[in-house]
Symmetry: C2
Subunit: 347 residues, 2 copies
């Protein structure tokens, strides 16, 4: 996809040259970073706090398609997806490592685009890039991100803390990233059949952005703190609402009741899903990649949350014997299923 | 390379099934691990110590060739290579995350082999496996390891601490991993030309193991502590002695003199290099993958180290103006060059 002539050559630059080139604009801003790139390991200081670690692998042809994903967006998303896991522990993300495997055919300015997206995410979220690995790849583009953060022991929130009667809440709205993906896939097919037809994504910015440029919900963590609400359990929505609430119920050894009519779905997500002949609720339950936060709170916290436009109460936690059910708009109970996203089925 | 029939199918198992299956034998043994696999992030407690983080990407066709690398060895090596970076900071490795991207054609028992090698390394080195990501790969096998450790502020050793007059020391011996690789590559070529000829690696166990199953030098870190020696600078030998000493000199803004005759080379490495028409010293300087520790110490520590069979003094640190030179056996001075290993040149 790239014009490779007249471009700086990775082979000539070499691994150390590429690392120097890419990292010269990396600035360290976090008090918890003692030493970033440039030694065998980064050195961090979380004096007294718990250290949080999470890691993700993003592989070309599985997690992204370079035919419609701009590289800067990809670098940005790779970081967001990973930071989201730290926020889901009610922690503060403070550092990442960013590793890439790429073909020597990849032009330098394409690598720069990817890296600039990662750095933009770091700047925006107050996170230092402290290391990584840069390697040739014999096949496609490989991205591996590890995020590091911290939290006080008493604020760390696990999946396992949900109690009977707790309210189930979710931030933002769901299903948009999945419907945005359907739109991008359709335009790709049209383009491949007839390259003269330009992609028609007009008026669909919101759901296309949900797919290409998700934002981890650091703001929700800060909002909950300012409201004095500590979730009893929390997880980020990467595989779809159904899969995530089942993780919380399993880890907490509880059941749940979700109400279909309460699930927040943006009108554009709703209408576009309908255009594709998809059930918007199914997109929210099983679509994934929304990177919203799903959490449970004590009923006593309801008054603090009820007027927050970005948080929706969608159900409650039950005793385990009650099972895990979705109450449909017509009042029927459907057992929740983690259809989620089975990457192995796609290859 | 694998017989795929009658084997448990990754597609049927799915991502969560595979993770459950692989991680059911993971035991947590480290006091610093609060929470391992099973939440959005691992939770660690380094109360008062610095946190160390390092990460490596290993890609099929670049870093390993599955035609002669047994999967269990590969899992073991992937972990060792990464732990080595934590020891090179004079730290204690305590946790890793282990991520894999693999084709759905990969049979389950092959994944188990890979994972069992990683777990064996963890057990042997007293390290907890606390997370990772498991994904399908559209191409080859992808392994990403992040290692986490800790050190007291005053014991953390950077590349930048070498002072004029410090002695340059290296653990073990050098060049073996590279010569072992030449042997394996030769046997692969012979096998590809005539599959009836079995590999002839008899009597070459040591250098084949140096390539396939390196051991990070945790023992050297412990030895130095017991001797009361704190290195002024340290790095692990992953890209070859020349490249590593240049990293130390650059970070410390110093020069160095290395003595060819002092460089420790095992007789089997020496003889096999000669058989291949290679200069054993060049194998030590530029071969890489030995995962020994290269460090500088104060001259006053010489008496504590001189009788240690596993540590060799190979030179000393000079003022920067003296440059970075190798004194050959014949007494000539050659400027050191970081030929190292340019992965981009291999693709």
């Amino acid at each position: 996809m790239f014009d490779n002539e007249e471009k700086t050559n990775l082979e000539r630059l070499g691994e150390f040259g590429l690392i120097d080139h890419l990292t010269k604009s990396v600035e360290l801003t976090q008090e918890t970073t003692d030493k970033g790139i440039g030694d065998d390991a980064a050195v961090l200081d979380f004096s007294g706090n718990k250290t949080l670690i999470s890691t993700d692998l993003l592989l070309e042809g599985i997690h992204f398609d370079l035919r419609y994903v701009p590289l800067k967006h990809l670098g940005y998303k790779a970081v967001q997806v990973n930071l989201s896991d730290i926020y889901a522990m009610n922690g503060t993300a403070s550092q990442i490592t960013f590793s890439i495997g790429l073909s020597s055919k990849f032009p330098l300015d394409a690598v720069e685009e990817l890296y600039s997206g990662a750095l933009l995410a770091c700047q925006k979220y107050g996170v230092d890039l402290v290391g990584g690995d840069t390697s040739a790849s014999a096949q496609g583009l490989v991205i591996s991100v590890t995020s590091i953060g911290y939290a006080r022991a008493e604020e760390t929130t696990y999946r396992s803390g949900a109690r009977e009667g707790d309210l189930i809440c979710v931030s933002g709205d769901l299903g948009g990233a999945y419907v945005g993906l359907q739109l991008l896939e359709r335009e790709k097919r049209i383009f491949l059949e007839n390259p003269n037809i330009q992609p028609d994504l007009e008026g669909k910015d919101y759901i296309v952005e949900r797919q290409l440029k998700p934002e981890a919900r650091k703001d929700i963590i800060e909002l909950l703190r300012s409201l004095g609400v500590k979730p009893t359990a929390m997880i980020d929505v990467s595989d779809g609402l159904a899969s995530e609430i089942l993780h919380i119920c399993k880890a907490s050894e509880k059941g749940c009741k979700l109400y279909e009519e309460k699930i927040p779905i943006d009108p554009m997500t709703y209408d576009t899903a309908r255009d594709f002949g998809l059930d918007p609720t199914v997109c929210a339950l099983s679509g994934g990649e929304d990177y919203e936060l799903l959490f449970t709170v004590d009923q006593g916290d309801y008054d603090k949350l009820k007027n927050q436009p970005d948080i929706t109460v969608i159900g409650h936690i039950t005793e385990p014997a009650a099972g895990t059910g979705l109450i449909s708009k017509s009042g029927n109970v459907h057992p929740l299923q983690a259809q989620g996203w089975n990457a192995f089925r796609r290859v």
